[in-house]
Symmetry: C2
Subunit: 372 residues, 2 copies
């Protein structure tokens, strides 16, 4: 079902890159002197197919899910933190809330796989679901909470699959539906984020399988484990791959066997952005694993992605190598949630504003380069 939908993804309009370049070269600055900001503007023109893209609302979609593999002791934090942090998101106190406000972006928190029923918590706003009919949630202070729970925590990948194939497809579909719904509400830039204790473990496992690199080369210390725990984490990832034998040529199989619900949601958002011709800003390691799933399903998604930053997590580099996309920021971040993406959104938007708002040489009466 997912494969049928993603067949509709089109390549970006490369002819528009020349139109965009001509405008950039007419602006009152030396040619190419705004470097990557100019790249961002050109990519936005190509993605949207509009010679002068509008800058509408921005949204960060942060998926939360639990992981059976947490039982193997791969994380520095207890599993309850997934639930606690979702409540922190809803109350506006987490890093992603602060940085989204700073960037002028809304946050949509999606319970796609948390091992907890939030309907029993006091103070949680009325729950909403997002479906293909486009019903979506709007919460307080720029934060919406959506529950589209596919699973109450994944299976422990060290001993079995994370999800069934049907659940994996369902996670992807939820991500695509969310993009469709928000794009229909005037959102023109999306970003991905994650919350899930132990989720660097399935992410590194996915990156290992889809990049062909050994687990030890794409595994990091997550939220802060020590050297012994790190070696254990690598062994758990090796075991998960050996036991489940995911097919590297079938990304949905990889997602189901060694992935996670939030990683599937992220892949779905990326596929959905490509389907809807809107840009998607990909956050750190976990979003990078989702990006590799989306890229493996449909390589054309690459043209719709911006890689927000270069994470401290060493596996992240393999994502950038595999997709050929260069990260925008390098600030030693490793929080996730979409925090790096929120920061990068401001820079991408800066590129668009340069493109739209700067005066041309003619308008400003500024002399051009000698011989130009």
């Amino acid at each position: 079902m997912v494969k049928d939908t993603v067949n509709k993804i089109q390549s970006v309009d490369a002819a528009l890159l020349q139109t965009a370049q001509a405008r950039l070269d007419s602006l009152t600055k030396p040619k190419d002197s705004l470097g990557r900001l100019e790249e961002f503007a050109k990519q936005l023109v190509a993605i949207t197919g509009q010679a002068m893209p509008v800058t509408g609302k921005k949204v960060i979609v942060t998926f939360a899910g639990d992981h059976g593999v947490a039982a193997e002791g791969v994380s520095a934090f207890p599993k309850e933190v997934t639930r606690e942090m979702v409540l922190n998101f809803i109350n506006g106190g987490a890093g992603i809330n602060v940085l989204a406000r700073h960037a002028g972006a809304d946050v949509v928190v999606v319970d796609i796989g948390v091992d907890h029923d939030f309907t029993t918590d006091p103070g949680v706003p009325a729950l909403h679901t997002c479906d293909s009919g486009g019903r979506i949630g709007f919460g307080k202070g720029g934060t919406a909470f959506i529950t589209n729970k596919v699973v109450r925590g994944t299976g422990n990948i060290a001993r079995g699959p994370a999800l069934t194939r049907q659940q994996a497809e369902q996670c992807i579909q939820i991500g695509m539906d969310i993009v469709k719904a928000y794009a229909g509400q005037g959102y023109t830039m999306f970003a991905t984020g994650d919350m899930g204790i132990a989720n660097t473990t399935p992410s590194s496992a996915i990156i290992s399988v889809l990049s062909g690199k050994p687990a030890a080369a794409v595994t990091g210390k997550g939220t802060g484990i020590d050297d012994d725990a790190f070696r254990h984490k690598v062994r758990v990832i090796e075991q998960a791959i050996a036991f489940n034998k995911p097919d590297p040529d079938d990304a949905i199989d990889v997602l189901a066997k060694i992935g996670g619900a939030e990683i599937g949601g992220i892949a779905g958002v990326i596929l959905g952005c490509a389907l809807n011709r809107v840009p998607v800003v990909v956050d750190g390691l976990i979003s990078g694993a989702g990006a590799l799933i989306a890229y493996s399903i449909e390589p054309r998604t690459k043209d719709y992605m911006f890689m927000a930053h270069n994470s401290v997590e060493q596996g992240h580099k393999a994502v950038h190598e595999k997709t050929g996309l260069k990260p925008i920021l390098d600030l030693n971040l490793r929080l996730g949630e979409g925090t790096g993406a929120a920061l990068a959104m401001q820079l991408i938007e800066a590129g668009m504003k340069i493109y739209r708002e700067m005066a041309t040489f003619g308008e400003a009466g500024v002399s051009e380069k000698a011989g130009a």
Copy 2:
């Protein structure tokens, strides 16, 4: 006179770094997981001496000046562009206007050495001067224009000094006065910017002398000269240094003999920010040359500086090496005007908002790291 004033510059309050670290570690995120954003917050606490610094108004001070050395054919653009771009700044159409609006910062354009009398131009707003009495200009649409003209273009450094020593000191004093005046009006973050056709030539000359590196190693292609013109530019810089024999141990001598008025103004802003205990975001190559002047006059200025980005201009790296400061962004920028600084201001501010606004583990009821 400048030396007497800068003697009052104090070291930042390093004890406050621990207070700031303790707060950062109490916030709902793994320790150090927001990387350089956390560094920025700590540095702002140490600079201001406040345990919880306020985030007030931001201003980018863009100095404009002409350069006699333009007659040597070192730039791709004609000299008239300095004047034309100042008018573009005043009318809000330049790159710095767009990016300052994006960052929520005001722009102050200072004619410190343009070879043109702007009072004869139609459409230029009422002129203001900034003096030690704190009278400052406020212009339309977030852009103010100040005229504190020290010189109508510098001397040609290939054949003589740029400025007299008195003029060089006067440029520095103007920068310090501007900071004092705007800090008194509630501005809590400053950035430096420049406009001046041919000004990468004196900037590379300054960097060569103060870093001890050969001219060829710190010279770039500026606004876009070809290989022949580049080799000529290197020879002009070598000639300027050989002819003027600036004393590397006397930064004001270096500024006077091979510098420029806007570079002196930038150095003055940096010294002024250190005097007033406010942060200063240093833009690209020309601002970097000003930063080396300020750093050579008083090394304690280093603690008040943020290096905005890593310019395409190769001489910029020598500035970062000499000061030991790591640039924040790397976006292939080479426009100047303060454009890179405007972008970096948003990231520094993001660090401060994380520090001020995130919930603590206790406030949010989130479990801490196992064993923490």
